[in-house]
Symmetry: C2
């Protein structure tokens, strides 16, 4: 089997047998669906219509036809009519709500997504440059979200390899015209920033960033494991937390705030809560959406 | 005291009393020297002449005059005549050899350097884009090198703040003409890449990168502590290492190889040594400069 085919199919071997797969109709997800079927699985095809493009109804019909052609079950969803279109964050939430509901209804909790190495590099670079509370680490190959187990087996596979795979198998897909619109930050990173960096630095920048993301991701997983015991408690114990390294304090606080579903946690929020470990400052920290934490009798509480 | 003055002087308070300080004659190190004297210290001024510029002799004379004016001891060094000029790496080595010898001769092991937040962002971004074995984490605020303890108290202070400080105190310094030469990669990052990213992303990119570097740096310190026990052994024990998380295996191997002074350790080297933990592959890994590791009787050896 030629290399791109091995590269694309090998990471699918470890996936569970019973699966949902998100298929937009673009080359990545069409190739993923094909590869899943070739490994002997019969995934349920989920398509979500964001209503972003005039031809999005045509995408939905094509994906349904493809599923029927492959003899696979197919479920379609679309943005609720009240939603504000073009809001990426809102569309993402609506898409995951659709995925989670369908998963529950069908009793299949594993969802495979076609995110690949180029997506991972773009995500990692965006997180780093935009600044995020935990610094950027890219996407997880396996993660949990709203009762779903998300699998991204292609985070180590480059778009170029997926295209080769799709051409080898004579697959048909639709190009998404919004992929070239640099008003979307992700497209800007892909089409302008990464080529610029590559040219200026004279090094395979995307490969280096993918490797860095993988190093940080694996370390993050390890560190989360070390923090879980403290971060999963109702309250943080000042004395225990004070005895841990700086980075462990930060990460425990971040995970603890996330556990309480605090939104938009910034690095400054984490550092402010960490300030509660000192004795001589006011023992209250304001967070987003009117929530706050307080230190009392050697414990840090969420209120 | 105006804010830039506090920002520049506060981080110096925690430094030891007896110090060496590296002074090139540029604004950063001249301001650092001034601030150190203002905190009541009498550091020994070290100047290293790289011979890069025709006027570098003038720099050396100015730094000596400045030290004499402040009543401070002064030691000058220069590149050995056999060295290849313009080789940044070689110059760095020669500089640290000079620093280390002087430290030993004077019996003062603490050296303060004027690296600042802009330097840190540039270093971090270069490491990320060029790809380094441990992924980028920037410079350490305190580190050890060849018997020296290096202090970089200004990694959180921006160049702009140092300039304000220098102007407030009416300091005199020399502009380094090589700072605008974009053939040097660091200058390229500072003068082109960072302004470009700032413009494209529309966010305070340098601030976000500095924060990410600080998060990763603190985590790195924590992880190194967790790996020290295994990494400081003569051999790695396969069974023990196999029982640790992926990232711990990687980092333990990296630190162990560094402990054996292996040069140019790439991520691929680390992964190859990690491959020795599996049973079914050839039990030898080649490293740089003809060195290699081997697995035998459940241990990994350096040979």
């Amino acid at each position: 089997m030629p290399v791109p085919l091995i590269v694309c199919e090998a990471p699918l071997k470890a996936l569970p047998e019973s699966l949902l797969v998100g298929v937009s109709g673009g080359v990545d997800s069409v190739a993923l669906l094909h590869a899943l079927v070739r490994t002997g699985r019969k995934p349920v095809v989920l398509h979500f219509d964001h209503g972003w493009r005039t031809e999005s109804g045509a995408d939905a019909r094509r994906v349904r036809a493809l599923a029927e052609h492959l003899g696979l079950r197919h479920v379609a969803g679309k943005m609720p009519p009240t939603a504000k279109l073009h809001r990426e964050a809102e569309a993402r939430v609506a898409r995951y709500v659709f995925f989670a509901r369908t998963a529950q209804r069908l009793g299949i909790s594993h969802l495979v997504l076609a995110h690949h190495a180029d997506d991972q590099v773009e995500t990692f670079l965006m997180q780093l440059l935009r600044g995020s509370g935990a610094a950027g680490r890219g996407m997880e190959p396996v993660s949990k979200r709203a009762g779903l187990v998300l699998h991204r087996p292609w985070l180590g596979v480059w778009k170029k390899q997926i295209l080769t795979y799709a051409r080898c198998h004579k697959l048909e897909w639709r190009e998404d015209a919004t992929n070239t619109d640099t008003r979307h930050r992700r497209n800007l990173i892909r089409l302008r920033v990464l080529p610029y960096l590559q040219k200026q630095i004279g090094q395979p920048v995307a490969i280096n960033l993918l490797r860095a993301a993988e190093i940080f991701r694996a370390e993050s997983e390890w560190l989360d494991g070390l923090c879980a015991m403290m971060a999963d408690q109702q309250e943080l114990t000042v004395k225990d937390l004070r005895g841990t390294p700086l980075a462990q304090q930060r990460r425990t606080i971040l995970r603890w705030l996330q556990g309480w579903s605090v939104k938009d946690i910034s690095f400054a929020d984490v550092e402010a809560v960490r300030g509660l470990l000192e004795n001589n400052i006011p023992a209250k920290v304001n967070l987003s959406a009117g929530r706050f934490t307080r230190r009392r009798s050697g414990k840090i509480f969420m209120e």
